[in-house]
Amino acid sequence: MRYDKPKVVSIKKIIEENSRVKSFLFDLEIQAKPGQFVMVWIPGYDEKPFGVILKDGAGLMITVAAVGRSTKALHQMKAGNLIGIRGAYGSHFHLPSEAKSIALVAGGYGMVPLAYLAQEARKKNINVELFLGARTQKELLFASWMKEIGVKLHLSTDDGSVGHHGFVTEPFAEYVKNKQTDQVYVVGPEIMEYKVAQICYKKQVPFEVSVERYMKCGLGICGQCCVDNTGWRMCVEGPIINGEDLKKIIEFGKYHRTASGKVEYFPWVKKTKN
């Protein structure tokens, strides 16, 4: 089942993942594959895309950090309160049929779609190596859940409170130097995704990445999330893009478009266009 008009549902349960992040669970019959997203309507505030998890034994789950006005409003909500959900939308991750071992590289909330993928991969007995990075130990999302389902954890923190002291890309780069992996999946801040992509190209490892762009319709008509130069819509042809197709998305790691449609370069890129 896919919803294109917001389906109003009550929050069944709220889980506090850490001081900044909560998970919200719903009873809603919905079809969603790992990597897809739902548009969540927080009445009076906004509607935003969130990566979706269909957690075994728990159902539809979204995991949200309180960062802006609307996500803070969502964090104030209680079980029983109503929100609207439509979707699920977009492309999804693919597990190669013969895959024996995969590597996931997650930065921050990029862990959400990857946790769902890890759950599905473990059910097929695929070995999952997870490179999970966050600012500090308490913000490492879903680490105990992943451990429970037999995922191998490689942790990194910016403050060194646990695991590798530094970027998640570093232990990942070490790993692909020596170990065989069938496919890599990466979700996180775009600069991190870009670095992982370069490592994968160099090592000739196939990978899939989630390319996030500002979204309005989710239906493939408003054009807001179209990327250069292909014009692909990140709500239909994306957000999950494979490494070969990613080469055609020239703006990846460089710039994106704001709500007005204006090109905005990422802070780490020297302006070269326009």
């Binding site: 008009k5 319709c217 008509i221 014009g231 449609g261």
Partner: protein, 307 residues
Amino acid sequence: MVDLSVDLAGITLKNPLILASGIMGVSASSLKYVEENGAGAVTLKSIGPKDREGHHNPTVFAWGEGVANSVGLSNPGVEVALAMIKESMDRLSVPLIVSIFADKAENFVRVADKIMPLKPLVIEVNLSCPNTEDEFGKMFSLDLGAAERVVSMVRTVCDRSTKIFAKLTPEATDFTTIGKAVENAGADGITAINTVLSSIIDPYMGCPILNNKIGGISGRAIKPVGIEAVYNLYKTVKVPIIGTGGITTGEDAIEYIMAGATALGVGSAIYYRGIDVFQKIAKEMKDFMEKMGYKTITEMRGMAHRS
């Protein structure tokens, strides 16, 4: 052999299917993607005098019989958009229609004037976006005098080689009179219709779904409204009409042609049938024409007016 090409105010289109404004057209790449999927021409999302973020989400959703939107004319502003218009012209092989909007007649002229050095083939003057805020007051195309004034003023800064189309709403009580007025003011064509003002309330939430409370509906639900508008307009004006509103299939397209449209705007159908809807509709038009023994679009145009 069936021929889908049409002459739209002196511009040849390989087929009459035009990407409608406000759909996809936010960048040269998005327009190119639509061209690759079979559109005969493409329209840029309306460009205004300055950068506008538009409304907060929810701005678009599909409600079963159509699509509701209140995107709110988000655009980067004409100064920034110039490079994008230029890039679009360089990359596209099909004609580009540049849609413009503003809050007052003088600013329509300012926007058109800035674009003119690029020599656009067509400027579509958007007089009928329902997603306006108080600063804009009433839609221009609800007011005969205002619609006439904008078109005649834009005409003064446009070369004759640039065709001006006025996009109108059928919500005006004197819709065909306004059509005649913009024709007399120098419009080379009319686009009808825009989305229709609407609101949809979620009964569980007890409030409108669109953050802006009201918006415009498009898609199948408004097709008969569009057909009526084009049918009556065809009787009143001599300039060509781009029939827009709910065209989803080849038969929908033929209906508009028979009502009197020269070309056809396609938008929400991308939601219903995918980005390649242009190819699909073109094929269905061809199949229909072959089956019924029509060879050209021209011979069907305005056919519904035979007594």
